[in-house]
């Protein structure tokens, strides 16, 4: 039977038009069923502008929308009929196998925790960022859900990102690195030193501390860090890639010869942009939840949404959560069950 994915059609900075386009692209490239959640009148109007309606696109009305800047905790308490809450309600009822949202990421995390809850033995669900490198993709976790972490949390991020890398990228033993400021185990802050000890004892394919400069070389498949550091890295990378291209563009525009050269090399620039484009991976999986969730960038294009939907379906089809539970059980002696802090504290830290 075809998988069924819920898309928060009101999320994202570009409006429902972009979400609907992404959903239509996804159904045309797959056998998925997709339910769009949002203002029914508006979504029907948007769908009517497309001349390729699909019988595999469904609508569920939600009367409320959570704004991008709203307090996540207030949002999930007060807006029970918001598109994001309804998406997770459908997932909880088993009517869909995954949720994709480009909306308020704190609210997405809070709603997932409230309605689906954590996987057994997972202390802190986290967000896995997927970065392009010179060789293959690297999965960095956490990139923003947990800004104050203990070593046990980083250890679990390593397990969850390993499971994702195995299932989605087909790697048998993904190489796990701990993001630090020197390759020796003794280097790093207190959190990193403790996390190093735990990871060393684990059954993961732990290769030790890895420095930021090695992130993009492709010699590591999984990069473990706390959500503050990971989020800073995520945004720094976006900003730096833009700045690098901006500065290069300025230099090129200074001479006619260089401009001509750019025109000749333009295809290479386009392929390059595609290669470093985060939209290629669609979004960031939220791991450690009893369900399959992809959190997309607010600025996501239709292509990014399409890719996020396809990745969400892969997570469900290949049972990434069963893999996480298996890996957790291999290292159960290193784990302690732990209560979740209040949703208010968790969601306040999240940054989209």
């Amino acid at each position: 039977m075809a998988l069924h994915i819920a898309l928060d059609a009101m999320g994202g900075d570009r409006g429902p038009e972009e979400m609907v386009s992404g959903a239509l692209m996804a159904v045309s490239e797959s056998d998925l069923e997709i339910t769009l959640i949002g203002d029914q009148v508006r979504l029907e109007a948007v769908l009517a502008t497309h001349d390729t309606p699909s019988s595999r696109i469904h609508l569920v009305h939600a009367s409320q929308v959570v704004g991008m800047d709203e307090s996540p905790f207030d949002a999930i308490r007060r807006k029970k009929d918001s598109s994001i809450m309804k998406a997770f309600a459908l997932h909880k009822e088993g009517r869909v196998e995954a949720v994709v949202s480009a909306g308020n990421s704190g609210a997405t995390l809070a709603a997932a925790l409230r309605l689906l809850g954590r996987l057994e033995h997972v202390s802190r669900p986290g967000i896995a960022g997927i970065f392009p490198t010179l060789k293959g993709p690297v999965v960095m976790m956490d990139v923003g859900a947990n800004v104050d972490c203990r070593a046990e949390h980083l250890f679990q991020f390593g397990i969850m990102a390993t499971a994702f890398s195995q299932v989605l990228f087909g790697l048998d033993r993904p190489r796990v690195g701990l993001l630090s400021i020197g390759e020796e185990g003794g280097k790093g802050n207190l959190l990193v030193k403790k996390s190093h000890e735990l990871l060393q004892q684990s059954s993961l394919n732990y290769i030790g501390n890895v420095e930021g400069r090695d992130t993009f070389q492709g010699d590591v498949d999984v990069m473990v860090c706390d959500g503050f550091v990971g989020n800073v890295c995520l945004k720094l990378s976006e900003g730096l890639a833009e700045a690098v291209l901006g500065m290069l563009g300025e230099e090129i525009s200074k001479s006619f010869k260089a401009k001509l050269g750019y025109l000749l090399a333009k295809d290479a620039f386009v392929s390059f942009k595609k290669r470093v484009d985060y939209a290629e991976y669609g979004g960031a999986p939220l791991l450690g939840i009893r369900g399959n969730v992809i959190i997309c960038h607010g600025r996501s294009s239709a292509v990014a949404i399409k890719n996020a939907i396809l990745v969400a379906a892969e997570m469900a089809r290949n049972k990434v959560n069963e893999r996480i539970l298996e890996l957790l059980s291999l290292d159960h002696l290193l784990l302690q069950d732990e209560a979740l802090p209040s949703l208010e504290n968790i969601a306040a830290g999240v940054s989209s």
Copy 2:
């Protein structure tokens, strides 16, 4: 009277040849006196290969060298006659006004703390990284000296980097940002939230939380962060810039037309590389010490060493430390004097 700078001529991955070349370039571009510290026989041999000896280059013999991977704490205890220890001894005796080293940065920090000590009211000296942006340089502090920080430390980094930015870049009121994961003051980890409160009460030109993606836009002059996060950012930026150019190069090499285009645009690429080259700023000032110190990258070229020497001289000439003391006195109510942790703990965290 001309200023006198000490250069650890045995430091760096490229050997004394590169250090000597850098020193000779610096004297030819300035009226500085430079003392090279290291193995006298070897340095004389290197100097003899240059046909432009200068009467403003001096030699001081040191019988020992601290290796790049040696424990900094052991090094400064056991190698009293190392080039790095002798450089700081000269500074302490007032025979030079600044020290430049591309050697073991942990040992450089430890030697500076041991022989020169901290400026009054400075809890934690730190390393200021200088990044190119689309507009002007941004000073990020700390980029590696202090991996576990309290809010008071970040606040002092803001003061010291502001003084540096005023004195070296001529900015009247440098805009100070706090590196975080969202622009709202409530976002960030516990350390950032507390630091935000202190910075808000200060006399600095504090503009609030700044995200990593904005670092390279040039809308902030000083970026405050702990040394772990700062060092990760420093290395991630280096790695990403290399990876971006590497991926672009791969794309260009795929077609003849693109290769031809690259040749035409090559000057633009060269200007671009110069613009993002860290060697342009020569090195990272170590601030909060009773002296003027520049820590250079181990891979520093002669040009980077030359620029570091010129920046060190500017720090001494324009009395950056007096400026730091003035700024500290403006906010003395927010400061508490604090003992330094053992040098062992400090230097262990440092990463070159």
